[in-house]
Symmetry: C2
Subunit: 492 residues, 2 copies
């Protein structure tokens, strides 16, 4: 009520201030399946197992989230040595640490206020780290220039993506900002758009063509959206999450041309840039392709590209490190962006230190080089093997079809769900949620329903990571196979 009731101090008003009815309505529309009800159920099952409750399985295998270390992947030794040195610089006097690790730690500490990673950094990130990121990008992109002033360090990639989307949102009703995202998508995008009250514009990836991205479909989605909102940005995830495809150079060129023609701000989520496994596939950054297309594009198209310490071979999710590079961002808007990030003071400095190591790893003439390369290669080789194995085993199951896992860390297989199961599910939940919940309850296997990422109507999928250790992944895939056959029989 807006009126000021003269309540005597002894009789307090009974009403709660913050309820489901009075809270921010946008937040109610936010969904994030990767940590949704299925994961809460998995945690409950784990607790019950610990308490000795009998189940048809002895452990829950979680493949719901790209959480590498939690699945047994080991940290890169060099990275952790430098982080220990930065945390407790007394160790710089310890002979056990290699000289290159000490050099890196000294270099990072000198760039920190008071020589401590406990000081705030500049809000855009430590200048030294931003310079190192720029040099990394130049190397990665075969000499295409990069300016440290265009680098913003972030709290994981999610932070930078949400910030960039926030800058883009304006207007009301038919002029409200619309943002194009792929379906299937990584649900950070839909969640951030719901939070901002922006309009989500779906474009569908072509499952029958290995989840490729076709400009015709972009055009269809854009034209439909222009009838009710103001489409201003186009998000692409490459390599794909949850779909595991790696876009061709041609495709990226087409997307850039489309963005230029249609005046769309491009957001390139490239956090899996080192996770490319399939023969003949290669990672092409949007930045590189943009610059190779010449000044007509490279001087015009507004682009933000995102990277993270959480994926690739390091998988350091907990440090929440990341960066974005902005290209052709209006200088006045850039000043606004810098102001906006300053309100949160700075990204976590240990994550910035870690990012610096990712973009400036041991060099061939340094003592830690060979160990670093061995560890890096082993992680990526194991992921490549698991990508291949996942595709092979799943495609042998009648009623499951999946595209090759060319990159990233996920498979997104299509599953046939019998009509009777669909009917059964529709009493309370999405058919693929019903499928995944049953899979979890009966087999202790935790994957995320396709409906949490989006899929064409009438099709059903789940997303699984390829992160469990090889032995466990074999058991995992065998259980999926057994379950799918049993489930299909039960509802046929």
């Amino acid at each position: 009520s807006l009126s000021h009731t003269q309540t005597p101090a002894t009789a307090l008003p009974a009403a709660e201030v913050l309820t489901l009815d009075t809270m921010n309505p946008n937040i109610k529309r936010v969904e994030y399946a990767v940590r949704g009800p299925i994961v809460q159920r998995a945690m409950q099952l784990e607790k019950e197992l610990q308490e000795g409750v009998k189940k048809p399985f002895t452990e829950v295998i979680k493949a719901n989230i790209g959480d590498c270390h939690a699945m047994g992947q080991q940290p890169i030794t060099f990275f952790r040595q430098v982080l220990a040195l930065c945390s407790y610089p007394e160790l710089l006097n310890d002979n056990k640490f290699p000289e290159d690790a000490k050099d890196r730690a000294r270099r990072i500490l000198q760039a920190c206020g008071g020589g401590s990673i406990g000081a705030y950094s500049a809000s855009q990130g430590i200048e030294l780290v931003r310079q190192d990121v720029s040099r990394y990008i130049v190397r990665r992109d075969g000499g295409v220039p990069s300016n440290p002033d265009n680098i913003y360090l972030s709290t994981g990639a999610s932070d930078a993506i949400a910030t960039m989307l926030k800058l883009l949102v304006s207007g009301e009703g038919p002029t409200r900002t619309g943002v194009m995202i792929s379906i299937p998508q990584y649900p950070l995008y839909s969640a951030a758009l719901a939070d901002l009250g922006a309009i989500q514009i779906n474009y569908y990836l072509d499952e029958s063509n290995n989840w490729s991205l076709a400009v015709g479909e972009l055009r269809r989605a854009l034209e439909a959206a222009r009838k009710h909102c103001n489409p201003r940005a186009l998000c692409v995830i490459n390599p794909g999450n949850p779909t595991g495809q790696v876009q061709s150079r041609q495709c990226i060129e087409d997307v850039i041309r489309f963005a230029a023609e249609e005046n769309l701000f491009l957001m390139a989520d490239e956090v899996y840039q080192d996770n490319v496994y399939a023969e003949g596939c290669q990672f092409h950054s949007f930045k590189k392709v943009l610059f190779e297309m010449g000044p007509k594009y490279s001087e015009k198209v507004e682009l933000a590209s995102f990277h993270s310490t959480s994926k690739c071979y390091m998988g350091e999710c907990g440090f929440r490190g990341g960066y974005m590079e902005v290209i052709n961002l209006d200088p006045a808007v850039k000043a606004q962006l810098t102001k906006l990030v300053s309100v949160r003071l700075c990204p976590p400095v240990p994550g910035q230190a870690l990012l610096d190591l990712v973009v400036n790893p041991p060099q061939p003439d340094e003592p830690s080089y060979s160990t670093f390369m061995n560890e890096r290669t082993a992680v990526l080789a194991a992921l490549a093997e698991k990508a291949r194995m996942t595709e092979e085993i799943l495609n042998k199951v009648p009623g499951i079809r999946c595209n090759p896992v060319q990159g990233a860390m996920y498979s997104f297989p299509q599953i046939q769900i019998p009509h009777k199961a669909i009917e059964e599910a529709k009493k309370g939940q999405a058919p693929d949620m019903f499928y995944c919940m049953t899979l979890l309850d009966e087999m202790g296997i935790c994957v995320v329903p396709g409906s949490g990422f989006g899929q064409r109507d009438g099709t059903y999928h789940f997303r699984m990571t390829i992160l469990p250790p090889t032995d466990k992944l074999k058991i995992f895939l065998a259980k999926v196979k057994e379950f799918h056959q049993r489930f299909t029989e039960r509802y046929s």
Copy 2:
């Protein structure tokens, strides 16, 4: 334009997508003076000094931001030992580390996925850390119960404050959510409210009464605001930022009673809870006072209280650790909050580990106890001495008046600015910005104008931290004195 122009591929539209005119208008209204133009100017001056440009000073002394380590404060040894052990667990085999540090590190690592601080934690934070936070609160508040389910770890306190405000915002026009904040305030609040498009309701602290908070003023502000918005929350910062006061128990009781009567959600920013220096002053948490007021209040008033690893005696700003405790939050809203924080995956895990040490420091029977206590006591004693010195020296300057720095890390002196200087300033900037910019340019002293925090019309202030080392703080205060006299003469 909303219409789809059939542009031939050769003639790209010239318009930029994201400009000052088309960007999110709320973001344009965000201001954050603590890192605003004055700090950018200070950094420029530092660069010029490095390049050998002659200035009337040889170094810039920055007292603009509560960045303890940057000002030379040393980290707590025990905390950094445990963080090094968590970063590089190989060190657990090293005899140089005390056993209690190793025990803490093992305990934290066991609570992490895969035993690595590189794994994501639960979005609400590591369960073990939340349990330790709860135990800390129970001890702090003399036995008042605390439930780990009500603890949300965060990326510094700013993150949790902005999240809680976001949940509270709804309605349009006269039903739009209004939030009461003190003037002067810490500009995170005004920035977050601008970002959310919520209505800022100012209540003024009583400068003549040592920045105390009077319920009469709260009521005045609330009644005025109810004519144009829907006031739903009341924010209090105690100990005060930028004002350095410590609220009395009576005042906190009055505020709680007011919130209960007027149906306001209470937000208590208590990040300076260990920073209390003045004799006769004591920190009282809102939670403790609420529960001591009996079930009529403790079972009704909705409260969120915030804490951080960035302040107190540890000053670990760079790790971005923090937590909030929510009391009487509607369970359905709590589920929405948990969902919302899951979109960002988790707070930085090194910051969570650090927070665990802050709430569970070395105990009297442990080997690190005496070093820890000596370090902690030395930091707090030095701050207390600098608080006293700041007040004493500033109050000797004709035309400067400041209240005692009872707590926190700041003084917010009132400065008399001559009419001629006000006239001079009004050509381009606020009078106190003109004063602070001149102070910076002539003396190399960096403080933040009071207009960045809010102040009564016609009064002028600046905020300075008491963090420079004692010797440097003396020079700093002498320079302020010299400048103020010179500035006053120049414009008289």
